[in-house]
Subunit: 195 residues, 2 copies
């Protein structure tokens, strides 16, 4: 069941045979993480790919003032990986933690390489997953550089409706690039305008 | 000669045979653009891949206040593509222009698809190019959310030494997310400290 959910994300791009699915299953490890549990620690090499079955992951950094800044939320059915650490075996700049109780499938670098040797057609899937990451990150940059905080929040609500009331407000504030105080003020203003 | 330069960027990842190079050559179109010339206009579908032989491209947006905000510089030997427009046939959110007189090779979507049908091993090259884009964009987000403007400028100088004195200062300011006035003030401050 949980594996089928992950295979669905492959199937959007390439058709997997029964045999291929059975093989991929041997590479995927199922894990549960508690709310706030750290999965990747900044400074350590991260050579895994993570697929969210249920819940949400958050990648974040600690800025020069010691504050947490959220880079990305990865919700149900999203993949996350530290591509820099994977490609160059460099220490990760990011922390990855479970925002709430979260179930994931983990796939390591060696597993990916083996899967490509055995089934080269999988490269197509990885390539499209990467293309979607480029699109997401460029849109995130676009929003930060172009939109005001209110518009960014409205777009966040559209993109992640499931996170609005489940993720701590200060994490959403840092994702939007505003202080928690300004975020509260902005939400009050929006709610007042909607009344 | 110009083609060999582009093939080198493939060769870093996969070995190309003579026959494959000859085929790829038929797909690549050489073009020259004058300084400031627009290559992709926001609102139009962009179904090309661009490889910079010499010069520099800049992708930018017009923000809600009507100001240009630089998303990305693509210098010599860089690839650029609007992946969202390519994947979904959607109008581009970006403008792409030549920062200075620039020579590029252009590769269109159909050409890419045909190349993959003929030589599936090329998928590996596209996949690593995308992985590098993810790394670049995530680092850019990291810098915007974590570093102060001075540190961002220092990192820009390290990453793009060839652009510091060739790109208009207001374009660098918008890339760094500061006003041209603050950028001038900051540079004077840095120069004074270096004396």
């Amino acid at each position: 069941m949980i594996y089928n959910q992950a295979f669905q994300s492959f199937n959007d791009q390439i058709q997997l045979t029964k045999e291929e699915k059975a093989y991929l299953r041997t590479l995927l490890e199922f894990k549960k993480f508690k709310k706030k549990e750290l999965i990747v620690r900044n400074g350590e090499i991260s050579n895994n790919y993570f697929y969210v079955i249920k819940g949400c992951l958050r990648s974040y950094i600690i800025d020069s003032k010691g504050l947490e800044q959220t880079i990305q939320f990865s919700s149900t059915n999203w993949w996350w990986a530290d591509n820099e650490s994977l490609l160059y075996d460099s220490p990760s700049k990011f922390n990855l933690a479970a925002v709430m109780d979260t179930e994931i499938l983990i796939f390591n670098k060696k597993g990916k390489e083996n899967s490509l040797k055995k089934y080269p057609k999988l490269e197509r899937f990885y390539s499209i997953a990467l293309e979607k990451s480029v699109i997401y990150l460029r849109n995130r940059l676009f929003q930060i550089l172009s939109d005001n905080a209110e518009t960014r929040y409205m777009k966040f609500c559209e993109q992640f409706p499931e996170l609005i009331n489940t993720v701590p407000q200060k994490q959403i504030a840092s994702y939007l690039g505003v202080t928690p105080e300004f975020f509260s003020y902005m939400k009050r203003k929006i709610n007042a305008a909607l009344l």
